[in-house]
């Protein structure tokens, strides 16, 4: 499941425009299926400045651990505390209630440089 309206990264994260200069970030349905049952999430502090590609947290399943990367440069403006207390939300609703962080991005146009749905589908072999 790769929603048409979202943008994607090589690290299996999705990016949605939340406001003029803010985006919401989570992991894709493909990523949550690869991970299996998510049992632990660690998120960054609000206010942290991040560069593109910085590790900003962890998503850990019964099997393995994955870093959460900042898909774009900016500042962390919100984190989803609900997934910290209920990590399984990421499995159940990866594109909705299972979101992870919101960023105010330095360059609003940078979103356009990310993969679109077709590009991400190709990456994961879902064509």
């Amino acid at each position: 499941m790769v929603p048409e309206e979202l943008r994607y990264t090589e690290q299996h994260e999705w990016v949605a425009r939340a406001g003029d200069d803010t985006v919401r970030v989570g992991i894709t349905d493909y990523a949550q299926r690869q991970l299996g049952d998510v049992v632990f999430v660690q998120l960054p502090e609000v206010g942290r400045q991040v560069a593109e590609g910085d590790s900003v947290g962890e998503v850990e399943s019964t099997k393995s651990v994955s870093d959460i990367y900042a898909p774009l440069a900016g500042e962390v403006v919100a984190v989803n505390e609900a997934v910290v207390t209920a990590p399984e939300t990421i499995n159940g609703d990866p594109y909705g209630d299972g979101w992870l962080v919101e960023l105010r991005i330095s360059d609003p146009a940078s979103v356009d440089g990310l993969l679109d749905a077709a590009g991400y589908r190709e990456k994961i072999g879902e064509v």
């Binding site: 299996g36 049952d37 632990f40 962890e58 850990e60 019964t62 099997k63 399984e88």
Partner: protein
């Protein structure tokens, strides 16, 4: 080992049809979890209803001939004289220096026949060592692909066996030879989950039909197919060691707290002198349970620190406990650190400190009896 060299269980196609995720395990490609399950759901099924596992990768070996039991008893650590024919025993194959080549189950069929179930990766080595030591008249036969192994585990496991007309009324660690659909199957009251359960040994080619029947009976009772992912979280909650992690050629049974599986009064078994000496002196390190007091998931190989941040050990197993909903670990801790159950220790989780309580396993109460 290359991908192409991985061996397959007789149920490989059945697992694929259930959407299993596969991973290499001891030279075999085995199901880790199933598409409609997942580790937590499969784990919970075993604790609350019943789970059916394919563990056909486990080794099978036969030691037979006049005096077979006496021979095995002079090699492996546990004392076969503690059990009678029709009973099985957890035992260890050690090196002369006291390291563990493998942990295995020995089924005492009779004075002249012992059936062994070693770990997949170690079967050939256990057979090699036994064959090299066997006296004339005692044969050691590697039967790895003569039998499949299916584990039926959980509070409703007896109902599943009864539904198939298989004998379920067995004492813990007892076994009996039965028939299903006119085919032989050995039924054992053994397992690796801490629940009431059975391990069935059908002939290799009969395994798919038995699997299908067991799974149908389990699903009627709220059960399901379970993969090796759940098997690992279940055994870790019980503090059962996994060879290659919690027991190894470098980790002796005295260190691992497996001294109960050693027949200390026996005149001879492999590693006896080294183990008796280590036991008398006291081990330099000891396997302990760690239960996380904060959110975080321990993994094997993480440093264990004392309250002051000094390194006192290393984790050998670690996972998220679906039952307790917290992290649990087994760790080798330096005896000199004086860290006893009830004390606090820290785990270095990729640079983050995770507070843990030192506990005596099991983490979850066993229901095997």
């Amino acid at each position: 080992m290359s991908e192409t060299a991985l061996r397959h269980s007789p149920l490989h196609a059945a697992h694929a049809a259930l959407g299993a995720t596969f991973a290499p395990f001891g030279g075999w490609e085995m199901p880790i979890q199933y598409a409609d399950g997942g580790v937590v759901a499969e784990h919970t099924a075993v604790r609350e209803a019943v789970g059916v596992f394919d563990v056909s990768h486990l080794g099978k070996a036969l030691v037979s001939g006049r005096g077979a039991a006496e021979f095995v008893n002079a090699c492996l650590t546990n004392d076969l004289r503690r059990i009678t024919p029709g009973q099985a025993q957890y035992t260890l194959c050690c090196t002369e220096s006291g390291g563990v080549v493998d942990d295995l189950i020995a089924y005492l069929v009779g004075e002249d026949e012992v059936f062994l179930v070693p770990n997949a990766a170690n079967t050939a080595e256990v057979c090699r060592r036994l064959a090299a030591a066997a006296p004339p008249g005692v044969a050691v036969t590697d039967l790895h692909t003569d039998h499949g192994v299916l584990a039926v585990q959980g509070p409703r496991s007896a109902e599943v066996l009864t539904a198939l007309g298989l004998p379920a009324d067995l004492d813990y660690m007892a076994f009996t030879d039965a028939e299903w659909s006119g085919r032989p199957v050995r039924v054992c009251r053994t397992g690796y989950t801490g629940e009431h359960g059975y391990e069935l040994l059908p002939r290799w080619d009969d395994t798919p039909a038995l699997w299908t029947a067991l799974l149908a009976a389990a699903e009627d009772r709220g059960g399901r197919a379970c993969g090796l992912g759940a098997r690992d979280t279940l055994r870790t909650e019980m503090g059962y060691p996994l060879h290659g992690q919690d027991l190894s050629p470098e980790i002796s049974p005295v260190q691992a707290g497996a001294g109960w599986a050693v027949g200390w009064k026996k005149p001879a078994f492999w590693g006896r002198d080294a183990l008796v000496a280590e036991r008398a002196e006291g081990p330099a390190r000891r396997l302990r349970g760690l239960r996380a007091l904060e959110r975080g998931v321990p993994r094997p190989g993480m440093p264990v620190l004392d309250a002051g941040g000094r390194r006192i050990g290393v984790t050998t197993s670690g996972t998220f406990s679906p039952t307790l909903r917290t992290g649990v670990a087994l760790a080798l801790v330096d005896t000199s650190a004086g860290v006893e159950p009830g004390a606090e220790a820290l785990l270095d989780v990729r640079g983050r400190r995770l507070r843990c309580e030192v506990v005596k396993p099991p983490f979850v109460q066993a229901h095997v009896r």
